[in-house]
Each structure stands twice: as structure tokens, then as C-alpha cells.
Amino acid sequence: MSILPAEWTALLYLVAAICFILALKGLSSPRGARRGNLIGSAGAALAVITVFLSVKLENIPLILAAIAVGSAVAVPIARRVHMTQMPQLVGGFNGVGGGAAALVAVLELGHNEDPWVRLAIVFTMLVGAVSFSGSAVTVAKLQELISTRPLVFPGMRWVMTATLAASVTAGGFVIATGSPLWATVLLVLSLGVGLLLVFPVGGADVPIVISLLNAFTGIAVAASGIVLGNVLLVVAGTLVGASGTILTEVMAAAMGRGVTGILFGAFRGGSKAGSTEQSTRPVRSSSPEDVAVLLGYAQRVVIVPGYGLAVAQGQHTVAELATALEARGVDVAFGIHPVAGRMPGHMNVLLAEANVPYELLKELDEVNPEFKNTDVVLVVGANDVVNPAAKTAPGSPIYGMPILEVGQANQVVFLKRSMRPGFAGIENELLYDPKTTLLFGDAKDSLAKVLGAVKAL
């Protein structure tokens, strides 16, 4: 197979890099998003073709086979996975990418004596492995293979520190000796660091961690690019690293929290995440029929979906309810909080999948002014994102997080299973407000009942 001249290779890689930039740019504007993603994949394809044409390669059949296997595994999953499982999928794909980077780095160890290059190798191994094991934990948590509650044990932070120190030391030895043995030790320790990093993170925070690990993998890839002297890997990796970092910041801000708080909150015992102490204060609960009447005869209804709707996978039912109400001439809209659902922006994807028309989805700033002239707000499996404590209670963990001010509407209906608090583990005064009624039960069931009753009106 003929070899491309070096300039051509570099040029083609540059084109691929430009594709990635355009991809990111497209992905951050509603119109260009899909095209952006296609441009990105085109760039990736170009890069892969280039490597085959430019480097003298052995084992090409085996490599092609491996690529086939990878695609054969990934594509069906990517096609079939439920939109509600998007976070674990992204986490998973991110993890394997990090793992690949770590492995590539290990194998490069043999070919490099230069200590600086070895430093890059060690860095890639460390960060890649952390991203791998960390992502594995996020998947396990989100699939509820393990508890979504923060897993902490006394002295955990010390174990963490020790492991980190140990792996750095091992890294030092790898640089000094380049021995595969030490490399293995480093890998194992790094995997440990990843586990210890993510275990203490509470369920709803996991998506932020996934975004952070996403940035990690990007950085690892950039470092491996330095090892291989491949500019494309450097640029692409850095792009993802940088944008991933920003994205993580933005998401954390939308939750009114800091990234460090999310990572080490559990250590400090700060976040009561996952607390489930039930309150016993009296509330006004009612039947699906009453709710149906409320909604069916209202002029204007805003539906506020949350984490709970995602858990209950009630998005299709809620979409049907919206259509039914519109059929009755009710003016319906959805108020979407940036972090409602299981990952930022997730609720938009879920409702899009349920064919809720784009126009009905209103962002925080759009919908907040409208609550005044809203008759009924239907809060489906959301809690923190409508909790007035974010504005009123300086002490509370969600203080400062922008919320949907549903309290301004005439009537508020909560669909939830119990009086358990939301992710943040704090009381929601709104539940005890005279204008509030609760309908207990799984979101999907309740919605189905209400839908039936509305149709029966």
C-alpha cells in the first residue's frame, strides 16, 4: 500500500482537525447541530483513512477486524439505547476512549527513552485510566448496579490521597526505568484513583462527573498525541478537554454548585444528597379525577417535568396528556429547567423523543415571566428545580440555583410518589402551600390516570 508524503499526511490531518472545530461550533447552535455532528464524523473518517495511507502498517486485516468488532458492538447499542439511559451511554463511550488512550500510552513506553515523552506517557496512562474506571462507576451507578447514594467509608479521603501519591510515585519509576512492571502498577493504581474519585458522588451529580471525565479523556488523548507526535490528536484532544471543562462549569453553575463541591462534597459530608427522611407535615393530596378537572378546565397550563419523570420514563404519557389538553383548547407549555432530568439538557431530548413539538419547550428565562398568568402548573417528578428555598434560604444546598418560579401560578399540582425530598435532600415549602395539591404515585401511572380522566371529561 503506497505511503503518502509527510506534507500530505499533515495536511489531511489538519483538514480533519478543522472538521472537528466546525463540529463543535455546529453542535453549539440549534440549527447547525446535526450538520456539525456529520462534519465531525467525516473528519474522523478522513483521519482514519489517512493513517492507513500514510504509515507503513502490519496486521492490517486484524486491525480492520478490530474496527469491525468495535463498530458491531457500539452501533446497535447507540441505536437502541433508551434516551433515558443517555447519561450511562455517554459515560460508557467516554470510558472506553480513556481506556484506549491509556493502552496506547503503555505500548508506546517501549519506543521512547526521552524522559519528557515518558512524562507524557505516564500522564496519559494516569488520566486515561482514571477516566476509564471513573466512567465505569458512573455507568454502574446510573444503571443502579450499585447504589446511587454517595459511597463513603471513614478515612476515605486518606486512602484517596495515599493512592494518588502512590500512583505518582509509580509514575516516577516508570519515567526513570521505563519498566513494564511499574507501568502495570501505575495502571492499577490509576484505576483505583478513578474508583475512589467517583464512588462518593451522589446519583444526580453523576452527569456532571461524566462531563468532567469527558474532558479528562480529551486531555489524555492530547497527551498521547504529544507522545506519538501527532498534531491531530493534540488538537482534537485539547478541543474536547477545553470545551468539556467549560461545559462542566456551565452545568454545575446551572445547579448552583461548584465542581469541587460535587467531587469532594461527600468527603466533607456537606451534601446530604440522596437523603430520604420523610416529612410528616400535613399536605393537600387529591385524586386523578380532581387533577383532570383542574387541568381540563384551565386556560393555561405549564408542565414542569423533572428527574422523576425520567426515572418513571413517563415522557410519552406526558406528551399524550399535553396533546389531549390542547385538543380541549387548553394552552399548554413545558417549562424546562437546565438540569431537570438525569443530565443537563436531558429533558429536551426526552420530550423531543416523545414528539413534543419544539415550540412548546420553554427555557427557564422564557417561562418564568409567564407563571403569573398561568392557571395550573403540573410538576411531574420535579422538586428541587421548583424549590423556593433556592431563593429564600441562604443556608440550603441549592441556594443560588436558578429555579422555575411555579409558586406564582394560581394552582400547583405535584406528581410524586411520597413526601421524600428531591436530590438535594431538603424540604420544599411549596408542597405545604395552600395553592398546592399532590397526587401520589409513580409519575407514569399518575399521568396515565389523569390522561384517562381528562379524556373522560
Binding site: 455532528n37 456529520l38 493502552l103
Partner: protein, 101 residues
């Protein structure tokens, strides 16, 4: 290529990364995240090089494993992102479908 030149490229790429996504709407956070995720699957290029130059069988095995993982990251990432955005895309007419049910 010398260290500083690489550093220069890294710095510029960092700025590009920051600037490009700094003004994205929260509606797109999920697809942007999985799209960016797909991009770092480009480590596949590195994995292919290593596998193509592997001399002893063990190295080859590990390298091929890296190829599999990287491919999964890249291909899977782009596919699922497109799937998401496709739904965003067809919202309007989709709503009528829904109504038709």
C-alpha cells in the same frame, strides 16, 4: 516538532475550545456532550499506528483491544449524537404525527 510549537498549538486549541462552546444553549448540552465525546474517539488513529507496528503478539493483542475500544467510542458517539439531533430536527412535523395517534 519542538515543544514550544506544540505548546502554541495547544494554547490556541484551548482558546478555540473555550470560545466555541462558551455560548451554547442549555437545550443542547446533552448532544454537545456526546458529540465532543465522539471526537476524542480519534485516539483510534493512535491505536491503529501502535497495532500496525506491533512486533510481539502480546503487544498486538493489547493494541487491537485499544482499536476496538477507540472505535466503539468514536463510531458509537457519532451515531447516538446523530440519533438525538435527528429527533430535535423533526420536532415540528413530529408533533402532527403525535396528534394523529
Amino acid at each position: 516538532m519542538d515543544a514550544i510549537t506544540l505548546l502554541t498549538i495547544v494554547v490556541l486549541a484551548v482558546v478555540v475550545g473555550f470560545e466555541v462552546v462558551s455560548k451554547v444553549t442549555s437545550k443542547l448540552h446533552t448532544p454537545l456532550m456526546s458529540g465532543a465525546n465522539a471526537i476524542h474517539g480519534i485516539i483510534l488513529v493512535g491505536a491503529i499506528i501502535v497495532a500496525g507496528q506491533a512486533d510481539d503478539p502480546w503487544v498486538l493483542v493489547v493494541a487491537l483491544l485499544a482499536v476496538v475500544l477507540a472505535t466503539a467510542n468514536m463510531v458509537g458517539g457519532f451515531v447516538v449524537t446523530d440519533r438525538m439531533l435527528e429527533m430535535f430536527h423533526t420536532r415540528k412535523n413530529a408533533s402532527s404525527k403525535e396528534a394523529a395517534k
